[in-house]
Symmetry: C2
Subunit: 195 residues, 2 copies
Amino acid sequence: MQDDTRTRLIAAGAERIRRQGFNNTGIKDILDAVGVPKGSFYHYFPSKEAFGLAVVEHHMERLGARGRELLNRPELEPIERLRAFFAGLATLQAEQGYALGCPIGNLAQEMSDLSPAFRERLAVALKGFGAPVAALLTEAEAAGNLPEGLDPQETAAFIVSAWQGALVSMKVAKNASPFRAFDHMIFDRLLTRRS
Amino acid sequence: MQDDTRTRLIAAGAERIRRQGFNNTGIKDILDAVGVPKGSFYHYFPSKEAFGLAVVEHHMERLGARGRELLNRPELEPIERLRAFFAGLATLQAEQGYALGCPIGNLAQEMSDLSPAFRERLAVALKGFGAPVAALLTEAEAAGNLPEGLDPQETAAFIVSAWQGALVSMKVAKNASPFRAFDHMIFDRLLTRRS
C-alpha cells in the first residue's frame, strides 16, 4: 500500500514536471492529485530533490524498455531499426501536439546547473539513451553499412543531442518539420554511404 | 532615467532567468538586484510575462549583433565562417563552465507549452538564428561548395536544432565533447563534399 502510494506520487509528479518544469511544480499539487494528505510527502521522499531523482529513474525505466524494443527487431537492418525508433518517437510527439518534449532532456536543460545530483543522474540517463544507438551503429559497421570514418560512439552521442534539439524545435514550431529535417539529415545524409 | 531602470531590470532578469529559469525567477530578486523599490515593477512592465518577452527581445538583439558579425567576415569562405561562428560560441560555453546554455533555447524548452506569447516570440527568435546560417549555406551553394541535394533552409534549421541539443548535452557533460561531435558531424561530414 505504501509502495503503491509512492508509485502514484511519482507518476503524478512525472506528468506535471514534464509539462511545467521541476521548479514550477509544487509538492502540494502532486499530493492533491494523488489524494494523499499534506505532510505525508516526506514520509516517502527525504526532499523534493530526492523526489525529482526518483522521477528521473521512472523515466529511465520507461525509456530503457523502449530501448530494448528498439534492439529487438531483427527483421530490420540496424540503421532502419534506428530510423523506425525515432519515427516512433516523432509519432508520439505528434499525438501529444508537439508538446512536452523529452522528460530527460527537459530536466537536463532545467536542472543541470542547479543541482549536481540531478546533473549526475541525467548524465547517466543520456548515456543510457546513447548506448542502444551506439550498439546499432556498431552492428551496422560490422555489416559494412556505416559510412567510412564514422565512430559509432561519437555518432550516437551526436544523434541523441540532435534529437534533443529537434524536440525543442518541435515544441516551438508545433509541427513535424524539425523531425523531418532530423530524419533526412541523419538517415539520408550522415548515415548513408555515398559511392 | 526611467529607460535606464527598465534596461537594468531587463539585464538583471536576463542573467537570472538564463541561469535558473523563468518560472523559478522571482520579480522581487530582480528588483532587489537593481535596487528598485518593490511595487515599481508594474510601472515598467504590465506583467511578468511581458517582462519575459522583453528579455527574449534583449537576447535577440545580442544574438542579432553576433549574427551580423558572422556575415561580416569576407576573408573566410561561407562554410568556414559558419564553423568559426560555432567555435566562437563553444569558446563562450567553455568560459562559463559549460553552464547556462542558450537563453533562447532554454526559454523555448521551458515556456513554449506554457505561454502562447512566449512560443510565438521564440519561434521568431529561432528563425532569426537560422536566417544567417541559411544565408551562408546559400552563398556556399552558389559557389558550388555545398554537397549536392542539401537544401540551405532545411540544413540551417537542422544545424540550429542540433546546436541547441549540443548545448543541453554540454550542460550535462560539463565538457567540450558534445561540441566536438557537433563540429565534426556537421562540418567534416554533412557539409563536406565527398567525391
